[in-house]
């Protein structure tokens, strides 16, 4: 329901915080709910960071405000709320590095832009190398990164030990640490806050956010999108943006567009909170694990995707056992830590570990999918470029390499060396 007094949410400020603290008055809702209209200029399917950012930048940068964001569950309930919230831009291909670095630039000022505390902590990102092969890839990545003016360098065990004192850098272990790719601008952020910030920002600009609204079909007539069928009724629209993760194949199928996507679950886990001791993000590709400590003190562990496709988000004990073994290999001092919970999210893997963005053979049907294990960090730049793509009808330079047609033409953008595990 619209809030009293004009409807737009008030700006958050220190004075407002003080007033609410003293008066104990409830905070107004961050975004409104609207009745579902039977027509929108643009319908975005998927209310995660990608869909909400697309809607936000459509309204903010291009003045397209007749936009609906549909989600079959609640906002940020999919990949946006299940990732490990790590941000970085030290990728392997020049296209990838430029793209993700733009995202990091947007993330840096996001709190001020959205008037929402997204708690970005630039704490540095370490990708460990345990063998000559991965050390070689680190050097390759560092050189590609430097050419794109991204702060990234290979460092040795002595410097690693200074950055992360709890890491076992001795040589007589199964997976000795030979070096690491150090990326100081990387860090972590509060992923729910990013979703809520974009939702609130989009709502303030007139975008309609519809939760509990499942898309059941997409109407296509003579090669063009004409509407979307949902669990709450039909919406006529000339433009549909598929911004789903996990379900991207199913939504694209509704429009008759085939996808080079396979859906795999990825499991993650979090420990009980402890005092701060880890102020970098530590990643090991060989051990399939990444570790960071949140502002609340919990350690967040992520892994690589499960070994076979599935739409099930059930966790498994063998994952927790394997994860614990790998974490202890890196940091033996954590042996007394207790896991609080584990969960799984769905990852739409593409053959080249790069996303699929832009138009499709169906007119008015755009995709922003195939986000595998690297979707969250790309949220802002994806929203910005997809909004530009939809509003201008032209694919922006930054995402021109990520089109769906690259698979038919054989122009793949191989990012496996930088995206497979390191988040």
């Amino acid at each position: 329901m619209p809030e009293k007094g004009g409807g737009k949410p008030r700006r958050y400020s220190a004075i407002g915080l003080l007033r609410h603290g003293l008066t104990d008055v409830d905070w107004p809702r961050a975004w409104r709910s609207h009745p579902l209209k039977d027509r929108y200029d643009v319908v975005v399917v998927g209310g995660g960071v990608h869909g909400l950012a697309t809607a936000y930048y459509l309204a903010k940068n291009h003045g397209v405000r007749d936009v609906a964001v549909l989600d079959k569950g609640y906002l940020g309930g999919g990949g946006s709320g299940r990732n490990t919230a790590i941000l970085r831009s030290n990728y392997l291909t020049p296209e990838g590095v430029r793209f993700y670095d733009r995202s990091l630039t947007l993330y840096r000022t996001l709190a001020a832009d959205l008037n929402f505390n997204v708690m970005f902590s630039r704490r540095g990102h370490l990708t460990l190398a345990h063998n000559d092969g991965s050390l070689r890839t680190m050097r390759w990545r560092a050189e590609v990164n430097k050419l794109q003016r991204v702060d990234s360098a290979v460092i040795g065990p002595r410097e690693i030990a200074k950055l992360v004192p709890y890491l076992d850098v001795s040589r007589d272990v199964r997976y000795p640490i030979l070096g690491a790719l150090y990326h100081p601008p990387g860090g972590i952020i509060r992923h729910d806050a990013v979703v809520w910030g974009y939702a609130r920002g989009a709502d303030a600009l007139g975008v309609h956010l519809h939760q509990d609204t499942e898309v059941t079909g997409i109407d296509v007539a003579s090669g063009k999108v004409t509407g979307v069928r949902t669990s709450r009724g039909r919406i006529a629209t000339p433009v549909v943006v598929n911004a789903t993760a996990g379900w991207s194949t199913l939504i694209s199928d509704m429009a008759g567009v085939s996808m080079p996507v396979s859906t795999f679950p990825l499991q993650a886990a979090v420990t009980e909170p402890v005092r701060p001791f880890l102020d970098t993000v530590v990643v090991s590709g060989t051990l399939h694990v990444y570790v960071s400590q949140t502002d609340r003190g919990e350690l967040v562990f992520g892994a690589s995707v499960d070994p076979f496709t599935s739409y099930s988000t059930r966790g498994s004990l063998d994952f927790a056992e394997g994860l614990a073994g790998h974490v202890l290999e890196l940091m033996p001092a954590l042996s007394k830590m207790r896991l609080l919970r584990q969960w799984a999210g769905l990852c739409d893997m593409t053959p080249d570990f790069s996303p699929i963005m832009g138009p499709t053979p169906v007119g008015g049907f755009y995709v922003d999918v195939g986000w595998g294990t690297y979707g969250f960090k790309a949220g802002p730049v994806s929203g910005e470029t997809m909004a530009e793509c939809v509003a201008n009808g032209r694919t922006p330079e930054l995402i021109s390499a990520f089109g769906l047609d690259r698979f038919a033409d054989g122009r793949l953008v191989g990012e496996k060396g930088a995206a497979a595990v390191g988040h």
Partner: protein, 80 residues
Amino acid sequence: MIQLPCPWCGPRNVTEFRYAGERTPRPDPGTATPRQWRAYLYLRRNPCGVVEENWYHTAGCRRFFTLHRDTASNAVKETR
């Protein structure tokens, strides 16, 4: 952990197997156009439901077999 019924070894833990991907019909390499061949290489049905897929029993008989699995529940329907 789920178990898979290997047609030669019987039910075993899934960790004994290697997932070898969804079964996709292979066009004739002699006559297929590059576009058809790349569709075979990259496009997947990826359904949320029953899918026909290949598995390899790495830690057992080391043979390939085909099974039908429901990707929503991971329940195995049929092996061959």
